[in-house]
Symmetry: C2
Subunit: 127 residues, 2 copies
Amino acid sequence: MKWSFDHDRPIYTQIIEQMKLFIASGEYRAGEKLPAVREMAQEAGVNPNTMQRAFSELENAGLVFANRTSGRFITEDINMVEKLKEELASEAVRSFLDSMKRIGYDKAKTIELIEKSIEERGDDKDE
Amino acid sequence: MKWSFDHDRPIYTQIIEQMKLFIASGEYRAGEKLPAVREMAQEAGVNPNTMQRAFSELENAGLVFANRTSGRFITEDINMVEKLKEELASEAVRSFLDSMKRIGYDKAKTIELIEKSIEERGDDKDE
DNA sequence: ATTATTGTATTAACTACTTAATACAATAAT
DNA sequence: ATTATTGTATTAAGTAGTTAATACAATAAT
């Protein structure tokens, strides 16, 4: 269940986003070797070209690097990984608050809703 | 500045989303008449067909209705509007918490970040 | 040296979204 | 009755993402 895509956005964009999440969360660790493009493409159920395209952008961002032919690896720069994590979180918060504002909820109501929702999810198995 | 689109999702989808926000927030009120399709298309800078497509889906959802030729109107069902608002908020909260979890933040850290962010935004002009 | 594995590039076809131009359908306004 | 306004439908062309098939490039493994 590693990969899942919706239908109204480019797949390669979603691969980039999900890889960023995997890197930020430590599911893929700094310096870790990745499976081959063809293999990841098969796992994800997409064409190798599509997977390749996603990774070529992740390389431009410096988050992964490729050594022909030993394979592809997550960056070894743990500062970059930490920075990525903070950026993703910051963007998640920003866009959430923006959405709530546009829907018509003020700060107090937003805090109220999120705390209530977290309480209700308190018995979830993970965190 | 009413409409704004990004480039990696279908425009008609984004129109639907933004219209839902306008309806939920009361920017467009229940029963209110909408501008003509051609006019809205011009304002948004898109083709009339694209605008039409978005509204035909909003009609399927029951959020608007069209009277040829008097124009198109927001639903008069205020319960539906209220329900829409709650659904949008619920989805925003759900996806936010999911994102934070995938990035690797636990409940406590998530609450901490959002409260901190709201404090920092406390001097904003609106809400 | 040869082979297998890996990343990378190329070309063609297919699909969905968007635009453009135009026409038709219904009815409110005159 | 005529006209203008509105929603709606149709057809063709353009663009971007995806798939498919294939080939090339570099090097680790043998």
